[in-house]
């Protein structure tokens, strides 16, 4: 600054001079300051000097700065990602990659387990049952499977401060194994440290996450500041790890401040007990079907089915055999006296009327194997009604117009209508073949014709021949001529002819032996002699043997040696 000359000074100038003398240095400083304030470069240098301290101070006192900055920071990040996303990705990758890797590996594990389960379940009965339960309850199938299939129990849960290795909270069954949760928690941390030192280096993901001993597993989930270790008995699903991780994350959120200011006091973490207890409740009931292999199931079912089939076949067979015996016993003419089961089948013994039904037919009816049944029947004659009927029909040649019934008193009763010839022959046949008298008195007989009357008259009268009178017996005396005449007249009337057979009954066969032929000739001779040549009958040569009935003998002279009976056979 130039010093002013005294001669050129006005009042203003003097004032100026005075001012410069008094506050000159200050004015210079002020102008300097003004200059520096106006100069943005200088300002920014100064702000740069104080900014970190200022931000730190303000952040400590309240959060206004953070809220003021957050839109800017968000915008900045957005712009940065837009311009060069790789840079941010590079910066984040050390943080993100382990988390992503962990997440993916956990997902793959879960998927594998799910796949295994799906394959195992397939269309099994258990699977179907669970699907039905899922439908019924509206729960997702996966949840039902998790609930029913996994047999595990969470026995202990430890929440441990990761850095300080002290137990923050603990839930679970208190038993001798886990007497001192503090020590367990500390030891878990020590083991983690050991693993990390020995194998894992400093990488955070290389830590112990599972311990196994006997049937227990310890699953260890790590968060930024806390570790959640759960002692599980049995096989827990991989999904349960997610449950643990979620719980841990939640606890990190709720205890963020407690963790930041943690200095050994675990009181604040008592509030985490419900979350830990929730983890402990993740257990499933022991499933009774667990461990029951499907192959074993099939075998058991097959064996049971086999036994059931055998029992059913056995009883069916027995029932058929019993049915056969019952049918045989019910059958008229068969009497079962015993059954015997031998190695090659059933032997049935008893009595059988030859006219009874064939027992073989019942084997077919009862579906038994004919090779397995043997009959041993002795023959007998049954007096059962059905058998007598059969026998009567067979032996007596009963015509369709006649019904023969068996009376309980032991007499056969014939009803209906029949020829005289049948009625007359049936009685003796019945008696001789069946041993039963036949009552034919109720049989309606056709009216006798002239010819039949004549035949009956000839046949009805036997001629007794006394000793010594044989050759001289009187044709007329016996009335034979009249009867023969009547017969001849009837034959003529009907244009029939007849043969008359002689049936002698020999009382003294020696006396008249060899005379039979003579008798026939003599009778024919006598007939022509008294009745003429025109005869429609002739005495047949030869004799017909016939047993005379006892009734016929009654009333004959005592010394009768021979009785002649005639049998007339009429022919058109």
């Amino acid at each position: 600054m130039d010093s002013p000359r005294p001669d050129s000074l006005g009042p203003n100038e003097e004032m100026e001079r005075l001012r410069s003398l008094l506050v000159g240095p200050d004015i210079a400083r002020i102008s300097q300051l003004e200059q520096s304030v106006a100069d943005s470069k200088v300002t920014s240098e100064r702000v740069a000097q104080v900014l970190p301290a200022a931000i730190s101070k303000r952040t400590q006192s309240d959060s206004q700065l953070a809220s003021a900055l957050s839109p800017t920071i968000e915008k900045t990040l957005e712009l940065s990602i837009e311009r060069n996303p790789e840079k941010l990705a590079e910066a984040l990758s050390p943080v993100m990659m382990p988390a992503i890797r962990k997440s993916i590996s956990q997902q793959i594990k879960a998927m594998m387990q799910t796949l295994n389960q799906t394959l195992e379940l397939g269309l099994s009965a258990r699977g179907m049952r669970w699907r039905f339960e899922s439908l019924r309850t509206g729960r997702p199938f996966a949840e039902v499977v998790m609930l029913r299939s996994m047999v595990f129990r969470v026995e202990q849960v430890f929440l441990v401060h990761r850095e300080r290795a002290v137990l923050l909270a603990h839930e679970g069954v208190r038993d001798s194994t886990f007497d001192n949760a503090d020590l367990v928690a500390a030891m878990l941390s020590a083991i983690q440290d050991f693993v990390k030192d020995s194998f894992g280096g400093q990488q955070d993901e290389n830590v112990l996450s599972t311990l196994e001993f006997e049937d227990h597993i310890v699953w260890i989930e790590r968060g930024p500041k806390m570790v959640l270790a759960s002692v599980i008995r049995g096989s827990a699903p991989v999904q349960f790890r997610s449950t643990l991780q979620d719980t841990l994350n939640e606890l990190h959120r709720t205890h963020r401040e407690d963790l930041d200011s943690f200095s050994g006091d675990t009181a604040a973490f008592e509030a985490s007990a419900p979350s830990l207890a929730q983890c402990c409740r993740h257990a499933t009931k022991e499933s009774s079907s667990r461990g029951f292999s499907p192959v074993l199931g099939i075998i058991v079912v097959a064996v049971l089915a086999g036994i059931a089939f055998w029992i059913v076949s056995f009883w069916t067979h027995r029932a058929r055999e019993n049915e056969l015996v019952r049918l045989l016993e019910d059958e008229p003419g068969i009497v079962v006296t015993g059954t015997e089961r031998t190695g090659d089948g059933l032997k049935i013994s008893g009595l059988r009327d030859p006219l009874a039904s064939d027992p073989e037919q019942f084997i077919e009816v009862t579906h038994l194997d004919p090779a397995e049944v043997r009959f041993s029947f002795a023959a007998y004659q049954s007096l059962e009604g059905a058998l007598i009927d059969r026998r009567v029909a067979l032996l007596l040649g009963v015509p369709s117009t006649i019904t023969v019934t068996y009376d309980d008193s032991g007499v056969l009763i014939a009803t209906g209508s029949a020829t005289r010839h049948w009625v007359e022959s049936a009685g003796p046949k019945s008696l001789s073949a069946l041993g039963l008298p036949l009552d034919a008195s109720r049989v309606e007989l056709p009216a006798l014709t002239e010819l039949e009357n004549a035949v009956r008259h000839v046949e009805a009268v036997p001629i007794a021949i006394l000793p010594g009178v044989g050759e001289n017996f009187d044709f007329d005396e016996t009335g034979l001529r009249d009867r023969l005449e009547a017969l001849n007249a009837a034959l003529v009337a009907e244009s029939f002819s007849a043969e008359i057979f002689i049936r002698p009954h020999w009382f003294n066969s020696e006396a008249v032996a060899g005379l039979a032929g003579d008798w026939t000739a003599r009778l024919q001779e006598k007939a022509i002699e008294s009745m003429g040549d025109d005869l429609q009958f002739h005495f047949a040569a030869g004799l017909v043997q016939r047993t005379i009935s006892p009734q016929l003998r009654i009333g004959l002279p005592r010394n009768t040696t021979t009785v002649l009976v005639f049998e007339v056979r009429v022919r058109p």
Binding site: R164, A165, V166, D182, S189, A190, D193, F194, D197, G264
Partner: protein, 169 residues
Amino acid sequence: MIRHKICMLGAFAVGKTSLVRRFVHSIFSEQYQTTLGVQIEKRQVEVNERSIDLMLWDIAGEDDFFRVPESYLTGAAGYFLVVDGTRSSTIEVAVSLSERAVAKLGDVPSLVLANKADRTDAWDVADDLGFPTRPAGELIRTSALSGDGVARAFDLLAARIETSSGRGQ
């Protein structure tokens, strides 16, 4: 409940395990058993009428063949540096461990214990051990055999930890 992790550091066979056993179980065994890795014990102490669980990490002694893994120190609220008064060589190990502990844990309470005080006849070290203790010159003579100074040492460390965590007097 307040819980603190406390590490026992020191050279091989200085008596760390014996001190812990004396403190926790009130027993002493003449039989020497080397510690493998780490053993953990717990003992409750009272500080300002509050119960405190001390989780005692008895870490295997350091020697030429075993270096204490620093991860075992992580999160310790305090630690003891144990030296054997009858073996001056154990001081060097303690100094080395002390440096590493400070580097790992920062300014956490610690105490230097001069063990085997019952064998002063065989004492081999200077009274102040020539050890850079904090506070300077402070050390406690202990005897795991007789129990002298043991409880006092643990109580003192617990109290200092409580003070440093803002709950002291």
